[in-house]
Structures are given as structure tokens and as C-alpha cells.
Symmetry: C2
Subunit: 605 residues, 2 copies
């Protein structure tokens, strides 16, 4: 029985009363965070759908929910009996939300949403497409969820902690100076930083509001003279208060930013006539308030362009974090070996979840471990072919034999954040499995051993990884790499390695980017091999400045799945050097039995 019908109906009643024709509810927070905290999950409250990507569009008589391929089956189940129509994003014939609205909204129709949940770039896309001189349509910023969800728990900041200098590597003062000396900042009088990772990085603070991300709900306003942090004041302990005082950071209540930005006096007293925003992370309500009072300048986040270039402390600490993470994952790999190589067929009780927990234990054993950097993907056999698979109690299956276990996981340590994928053979490999594994490895190595002229974009570099698979008529439908935050979101821009990227962002020295090609065969298995690559300087000569990669990740590839005859000389020597390096770095932290095994599985081939 579908128990949410009343809530959808109530929503429809409210919008009718208010004269709204279409109301849009995205699964988002006020900062366009990749994963918002539970407080913001209005969609689950209204419809029962619990996936992590969704937008609900409510009309007076109908309602529509957009989600992506990961959640089609789940959404069908959770929406069963509902009047909410599922819109399968990306399938042929399924319109995008804007296309849908444009073809359904009549003249004079009113579209509304809570402007805090819609970022400026989406808002602009809506208004450019939907509004014309002649159609008299309207877009309003109204929060109607407040009325609908009376017992909604107030959101509270879950505590904030200081990342000491020895971990942050750069003082707040220097970071703010860098922001203020950015060309885009100079054209303005102030910048609003809405992205939670950007705020945390700038202030050398971390929080606990979003699982796996170490951020806290806040806004930061930096003027030429002041730094104002909008945050839940009750969450600040004395240590943090003193720290903020010492750093000359003014503190105001989280919601106060809306009042401040409505107030002409606030702008005048702070000499603000032009404010710089980032249209991706700034919400429409904030944007509207500023536009009413002063000039708005738009540019991509200044902080993200600074923080993607890691400082020397972050880099050397991250190397250490990868030793710790490498030890944990290597021990896990040995655990798999012990558990499955010696058992009688099918005799183990291990499942996807039990193994994810086991890996968690190994990470817990590392000093300075703060938690996973994202929910572990532990995917056995055919589950591995579902790119975003994450085992739940409902889907968990036992590990049997002769297939691949794909484990994509990562940790936050005080020294830095990791993200690694290894695909482990359990049992025996078919020749196709070996071929596929070797192709993914070749693709990984092809990018990892690149040497390239300064200015080369991640988009171009992706050719090196894809080309290996394309030659065989194969491909994978995700990016090859993403930037990695420092004890922040494991997905960080602007750097990425993706042929489909709309931007040509050069990969430059001191960026950390993942290298994670894969192959996925529905109903069979998935293979993904992911290392993190630090971009470093190579030779400079008359042709320009060359860059290359240092591999940070320290876990062996599965030597039993590699067809050596498919590797060329360069690939073979790259692999042998990598394995020797892994052994050197990891073996000191293993017990004798583990070390002997590691020597064996990192042997020259």
C-alpha cells in the first residue's frame, strides 16, 4: 500500500490555493551539495522515493518524478500505487524537466520552487527557456514545504572542528589573501562562498553535517576588509570560537545571510556595490536578494580554482594517507586470498556487505582514520556491472566463485582523502575475464604513464585511457577521473578527466585526479581499476613545460588476471615498477605472512 498519497494531494492543494501551476522540488540543499543532509529530503517525505538523485514536479492534478538509470527499478517499487509518474531520465522520448515544463506550461502559467534549492545556473536555464515576451508565464520563489511538513525537525549544525596547520598546510590568512588577489574578486567588492567544501577549506575547519564529506552548513562572505561566517552559532565550542576570533572571522547566524542581503544598510556599511557569486553553488533566493540591491558578477568558484592545486603539506600528507589506505586495502586483499583460495567450494559465509565491513575494520586499524570518504561499493559478479551499485540488506549476495568482486572505496585520514577501486578475482578466471581485466589495466596505465605539455586538458588526456578500449569496440559510460578533495568531498572540481566534459580544464602540477577506467558486462561482471594520480613537473625544453603523473595509490593489481602477452614493453615495465614500489611502501606495515604473500603477488612479470 502506497502511504504517501495524502502528501502528494496536500501539496497539490497548496499549490492550487496559491495559484501555482507547477512546483519543482529538487533533492538538494541550499548549497547545491552533491549529497544533501537528510533534512533536505523532501522528496522522500512527500513520495517515499529514497534514491539519491531525484526531482519532483507537482502539477495541480499530476506529479512527475525524474531519476536516473540507477534508480528506475527502486523508484517503480517505491512509487507503486502512487499517482506520481516516473520519468526515466536519459531514456529516449523522456523529456528533460525544462523540456517538459516548456511543452506543458500554458500562457500565464506559474512555475514555483523554493529558490534556496535551485542554483542560479538552473534558474537562468529555466527562465531563458520558459519565459518569453509573449507567453506571460511566471516563475516564483515560494517555500510551501514548510506548511506541508509541520513536524520537520529543525536542522542543526553537528559540530565543527579545526584542521590544524600541520594538516591544512596553509593559514586562513594566506588563503583569504589569495582569494582577494584573484582577478575576479578584484572586479568586485565581496564574494559569497556558498559551496560547503569551499567554506571549510578556506577556514581550515571541518564538520559533520553531511555523511562522508566533513562539511558544515554555512556561508562565507568575504569583503575587502571583513570575513563573515554565517553558521549555526550554537554548534561552535569555545575552541572554535577562539579560533574564529583569532582569525578575525565575524560570526553571524546561518539564516541571517538572507536578512543581511535584504538590507540596503548592510551593503552600504560594508562598502559592497558589486558581489561576486558562483552560479553553481549559489542559490536563487540569495541571488535575487543581491540583484535587488547591488550588481552581481558571476565567475566559477575562486576557491575551487585555488584548492584544486594542493599545497606541499597536503601533498606529502596525502602520500602518507595513501600508505595507510594501501596497507588497509592490501590487508583486505590478503584476507580475500586467505578466505577464498583455501576454502572448499562455496564454503565461505562472506557477502558483499560483510566484506565491506571487513575492509572498514582494516581502515579502522589505521591511525588518524576519520571515516569512509563515500559508501563502499562492494559488488559481486553481475552487481559489478551496475556502475553505482552499493549493497543494501535487500540486494546483498553471497560471494561464491569464479567471478570478480569490484570494491570501490576510500577513507578520510587526518593526512588526506583516498579513493581506490580494485577488482578481485575470486576462484578461477575465464580467458574473457583475463582479457577484460588486462584491457582495463592497459587503459589505466596508458593514462598513468602519460607525459604531456602544460596546457593539456583532462578532456584530451582521456583519449589515452579510452583509446585502448575503443580499439576493441569497448567503452565505459562514466568519466575516467575526478579531482579529490582534501578531507572534503571525494569528488572535487574543476579538474576531471573526461572526453565528455563540457570544459577544457588543463591538468596542472599539484592537482590530484583519479584514473578509473572500467568495463561492465550486464549479467556477468564489472571491472574497474582506480588509482589516484598527482600531477608533477617533468622536463622543460624548447617545446614547452612537460608534466607527468605520480601514482599515489599503493595496492597491487591482481597479477592472476593479467595476460602478460597483451602488455607491451612499456606497460610491463610500468607495472613491474609500480608493484615493486607498492611492496617497498606497504610491506613494512604488514605481518610476516602478509609480507611474504605481497612479495609473491608483486613479483616481476
Amino acid at each position: 500500500m502506497y502511504e504517501y498519497k495524502d502528501r502528494v494531494l496536500e501539496l497539490q492543494n497548496i499549490i492550487s490555493e496559491k495559484g501555482i501551476d507547477y512546483y519543482v522540488i529538487p533533492l538538494s540543499d541550499y548549497h547545491n551539495s552533491e549529497i544533501p543532509s537528510d533534512y533536505y529530503n523532501v522528496i522522500r517525505y512527500v513520495t517515499g522515493f529514497s534514491g539519491s538523485n531525484a526531482t519532483l514536479v507537482v502539477a495541480r492534478e499530476e506529479a512527475f518524478l525524474w531519476t536516473d538509470g540507477r534508480y528506475f527499478i527502486q523508484a517503480e517499487q517505491e512509487l507503486e500505487g502512487s499517482t506520481v509518474k516516473l520519468m526515466k531520465q536519459g531514456l529516449k522520448g523522456v523529456p528533460t524537466i525544462v523540456e517538459f515544463l516548456d511543452s506543458n506550461m500554458k500562457e500565464e502559467d506559474v512555475l514555483a520552487f523554493d529558490g534556496r534549492l535551485i542554483n542560479v545556473s538552473t534558474y537562468k536555464r529555466y527562465s531563458e527557456t520558459l519565459l518569453s515576451d509573449t507567453n506571460n508565464r511566471h516563475i516564483y520563489d515560494v517555500d510551501i514545504v514548510g506548511e506541508l511538513w509541520p513536524d520537520r525537525e529543525e536542522t542543526k549544525c553537528q559540530g565543527i572542528w579545526i584542521l590544524e596547520d600541520k594538516y591544512a598546510g596553509e593559514k586562513v590568512k594566506t588563503k583569504v589573501e589569495k582569494i582577494r588577489s584573484n582577478d575576479n574578486f578584484k572586479k568586485a567588492d565581496a564574494v559569497i562562498i556558498s559551496d560547503l567544501c569551499d567554506v571549510a577549506w578556506t577556514l581550515n575547519l571541518r564538520g559533520n553535517d553531511i555523511k562522508n564529506v566533513n562539511v558544515f552548513y554555512s556561508y562565507l562572505l568575504i569583503t575587502k576588509e571583513k570575513i563573515i561566517l554565517y553558521v549555526d552559532k550554537n554548534s561552535l565550542d569555545d575552541k572554535v570560537l577562539n579560533y574564529l576570533g583569532y582569525e578575525n572571522i565575524l560570526v553571524r547566524e546561518y539564516n541571517q545571510i538572507y536578512e543581511d542581503l535584504s538590507d540596503k544598510l548592510f551593503y552600504n556599511s560594508n562598502n559592497i556595490y558589486k558581489i561576486l557569486i558562483d552560479e553553481e553553488s549559489t542559490n536563487t533566493s540569495i541571488y535575487s536578494l543581491i540583484v535587488e540591491n547591488v550588481e552581481v558578477l558571476s565567475a566559477r568558484s575562486i576557491v575551487s580554482s585555488i584548492k584544486c592545486i594542493k599545497n606541499d603539506v597536503e601533498i606529502s600528507n596525502t602520500r602518507n594517507a595513501h600508505i595507510k589506505d594501501g596497507v588497509a586495502v592490501t590487508k583486505f586483499m590478503y584476507y580475500l586470498y586467505k578466505t577464498f583460495s583455501k576454502r572448499d567450494n562455496n564454503s565461505s559465509d562472506e557477502t558483499e556487505i560483510s566484506l565491506a565491513n571487513k575492509l572498514h575494520e582494516f581502515r579502522l586499524g589505521q591511525e588518524g582514520f576519520l571515516g569512509e570518504s563515500f559508501d563502499t561499493i562492494s559488488a559481486w559478479a553481475e552487481h559489478g556491472a551496475i556502475v553505482h551499485y552499493e549493497p543494501t540488506q535487500k540486494t546483498d549476495i553471497a560471494i561464491t566463485e569464479d567471478s570478480f568482486l569490484l570494491v570501490d572505496s576510500g577513507g578520510h585520514y587526518l593526512e588526506g582523502t583516498t579513493d581506490i577501486t580494485r577488482t578481485f578475482l575470486i576462484g578461477k578466471a575465464s580467458s574473457k575475464m583475463v582479457r577484460d581485466y588486462t584491457l582495463v589495466l592497459k587503459s589505466n596505465i596508458s593514462l598513468a604513464k602519460a607525459k604531456f605539455i602544460k596546457g593539456t586538458s583532462g578532456k584530451s588526456l582521456d583519449m589515452l585511457a579510452r583509446n585502448v578500449l575503443w580499439q576493441e569496440g569497448l567503452d565505459f559510460l562514466h568519466g575516467t577521473g575526478h579531482g579529490v578533495g582534501h578531507i572534503l568531498s571525494v569528488h572535487e572540481g574543476p579538474n576531471n578527466i573526461s572526453i565528455r566534459s563540457p570544459y577544457d580544464i588543463p591538468i596542472v602540477s599539484k592537482m590530484i585526479t583519479t584514473d578509473e577506467p572500467g568495463l561492465y558486462f550486464e549479467g556477468e561482471y564489472g571491472i574497474r581499476l582506480e588509482n589516484e594520480l598527482l600531477c608533477i613537473e617533468d622536463e622543460s625544453n624548447e617545446y614547452g613545460d612537460f608534466l607527468k603523473f605520480e601514482c599515489l595509490t599503493l595496492v597491487p593489481f591482481d597479477i592472476n588476471c593479467i595476460d602478460v602477452s597483451m602488455l607491451n614493453e612499456d606497460e610491463r615495465s610500468y607495472l613491474n615498477e609500480y608493484h615493486a614500489f607498492v611492496y617497498d611502501k606497504i610491506s613494512p606495515y604488514l605481518d610476516e605472512e602478509e609480507a611474504i604473500w605481497l612479495k609473491e603477488v608483486t613479483r616481476e612479470i
Copy 2:
């Protein structure tokens, strides 16, 4: 003695009289052609400089000439004794023309040029940078060369000929239908086609106005009902006149377009309220006339987006043109072998120019040969390191021994146009020469054997060619490939293969693009290996539609310069298959002696 001083002075007098402060003279025609006809070489008339790239900026007391690295030495010689200051484009500290004007023009200053010689995109860049609300500067469209150069010969169209259907492959009617059904055309009432190759292609006509390009000076105006060709009417013979009549093409005098576009009645009687232009090929005078009367829409050339996808007749004919060209170049290669392998040291009289002439003779021997598609680059030893080197009587040197002869050349045939570079070893190769040759070959093959998903741009594909050289800390400072016109300009857009391209143009089925990586060592030698690649369809599967290349060029690589141990298995089998294919296609047209030799130099390695 510098004999042009008076002309520069006279120009300065004229601009002073007219109240002009800076007068810009580009080396261009009214269509922004890559190479204008001699009529337009005002710079040579005024300054004596004879290079193919130059812009002259004349101030009241000074004059400045911009040219690129190819011409620095030549310009210094030709401008010796002149008051014209040489501006070495691209060198550090040398401003661009716009930068120069912006920092030198005072308030109220007047910049002028003949608007017919400046395209719209350059004009817009000038006005955006130089004019502001406050500086009161002005830009005027004035031709003052008319007064200066009284005995300038009138330009005349040098004849027009019809490219028969069996060579053009598509009727004018169909081409015009395609243009009219283009989305950008539909937004307008007419399009002005200024690019000479675009006009020639659309009308299946060719001309003789620009050396090596087969175009004729003209404009084409296509409305929803009419096709109007503006051309020197005297140049049309009865056959062409009949043809134009049959195709319903109205003919008006070349210069009449300026009068028509000044005339409100002309627009009204043709129902033109919006005109589409391409800002690259349309000149500023035309643009200004239209802007005064109707709305202007801008979009990249519709014709170029159609003509870059070759039709089936063009493709199969081009294959035949490459057999002819392959026979000529292969015979030339055998001539080199005979001449230099058997001689006593240094006993031949051959020079760069004599060999270019020899190659011309071999092409002349092919049926349907119309002429070179560009001036042959025949560059011995250190001359090969000068990327745009073209031998002149002054620079010509004798071919001695133990170095490379780089020959970049091409022909127009009734069946199509070719562009090929081979680098021939004369004498013995050092191990560095063999290594460098093999690297360039690997780079060429890496692109040639690519298989890639539909949507992949030439910019991305360039990674495959560059990566091979970058791994060794080497590079070349030109694009890897350009589109090739069909009995038109050998350089044709929009397709190109270049990591430095500002555009992400996908390489799609039926495009022809060159693959020409190189290595250049100043004072030593240059190596470039160029084939033309036709993009064709490969498999389609769940990942998408794959594309690959068919190599059109049919001339062996120099087997004596290849270090087989540097080739991987794929490269070796690619090369062997290519050589076997070349032998199959070319040997039937050789004499016995040549065929025996070809068999030997295309043997498996």
C-alpha cells in the same frame, strides 16, 4: 637602396590630409582568402615586402609591419633602409596589432582601413577593444590605396569552368536545397556566401583567379527564391552562361553587390529582412551596408559544414586521384633511389628546386592533372627544419648526402585534390635519424589506426599523435591535420586535428583530414610524414557508433629509416598491411624496373 620610401611617405600624407591617425592594410582580399591574388598585394607595392603574411599599420610619422617567424629574415632584408618598423609576431614583448593600437591610440584618434579587406570578426575585435564610451576614438572604412596606386591594374576574372556532374557528384539544385534547409538559413531570409571556395563548391564551378586554389572572385546571395552570383560577367563564356541560366542562377557584376546592399528597394523586392553571414569570410563593408538596412544574423559558414562531408562520387574519385598521385610520388621516390644510391658521392646536380620540378613532371604525366594544390616544399637537410620552407632561387641548395629531403606537395586532379609529405633519406642515416623517423612514423600510425566513438573531436584525436612524441619530450609546433578541399583549397575547415584548436569539431564519417606529425631539429633536418585519412564507419554497439580511418595516400614510407624494434606488434602489422596495399594499388602503373623496386621497399618487416 630602399626604393619604396616615397610610397610610405605618400601614404602618410594621405592619411594626414584625411584626418586619419592609424591606417591598417592587411595582406588580404575581399573574401579573407588564405592566399589573395596579386592584385591585393598592396603591402608589396607600398613597402617592397613580398612575404605571404603581413599587416601594415601606418601612422602619420611612423609605419609598422607585422609578419611571422617564417619571414623575419626576409623582411629585414626587404625593408632595409626603410622607415617601416618590423614587428616580429609571436616574439615575447611584441604586441599584437590590437594591443599596439590600443596602447598607442589617444583619445579622439581615428583608425581607418579599407573595410573590404577586414573581415567582420576582426572588425568586431577592433571595435570591442579600441572603442569605449569615454575615449571618443573612431574607426572609419576608407580606401586610400586607390589614390596612391594610380597604375594599379584592374582585377579581372581569369575564366570559369564547369565541374561536370561526374566529378562534382551532386547537383547545384540539391546543394542549394541543403543550404536552404539548414537551421541557420531558416532563421533568415537570405545568406551571403563570401568564401570563394564555398561559392565554387555550391555552383560546381571552378576558376583560375588564385594560384593553386581553382576559385574565381565572386559573391553568392541565396534567398528563399533566388540565387544571385556577383561575378565579372566578361569572364563567362557561352557554355558557362548557358549553364548558369539552366541552373536558374542570376548573374550580376562583381561590384554590384555593394550597390545592391545599399539599396532599400533591393531588400524589399527580394523579401529580405534578415541576412545570414559568416563573420570570417564576410568583409566589414558588406556587413556595414547590411546593418544599415536589415537585421544581420551570424553563424559559421553553412556551406563549409556541408562540403566537409564529401559525397560518394567525391570520395570514390578522390581514391582514384590518390592512385594517380601515389604513382607520381612513387616514381619520384624511385628516381631519388636511382639518382642517389648509385652515384659517386656528391656527383648529382640535383637541388631542391630541380627535384620539385622533377616531381612536377611525374604529376604532369598523370591524366586529369590540373596543377599543384600548393607550392611544393622541397627541403634538404637543415631547410627541412624550417616548417614552411619553400625553395627560391636564392635559398636553393644542392642535395648532397646523409640527410633527409622533406617533400610536402600535392596535386589537383579532375578526380580530387591530394596533399602528401614524405621524408626521403639520401645517403646513410645516423641512429638518431632512424629513431626520429621511426617516432614520427609511430605518431602518424597512432592516429591513422584510431577507432573512436562518434562525437570525438579532432582536438581529442590529436592526443594519439602527440602522445608518442611527448613521451620522449618532443613535439611539433603545428597542427597534426587539416581538412582537404575537393579541387579547391588544400586547407579546408572546419575539420582539423589539433590539440591547440579553439574548437571541438567532431571528426565524422566522410570527412577527409590529413595526418602529418613531424619533428624538426634546427640546423639539422626536419621529418614530416603526411597521409590523408578518410573517416569511415566502423561497428555500432551498445557503447555507440564507432568510426575509423581509411588511408587514402598511397606512397611507401622509407623502410631504410625504420627501427623495427621501436614498433609494437600493432604498428608493425599496420605498416606491413599499408605497404602491401600500396604495392597492390600502385605497381600496375609502374614499369617493370620500378615495380621490382617497389616490391622490395614495401616488403614485410
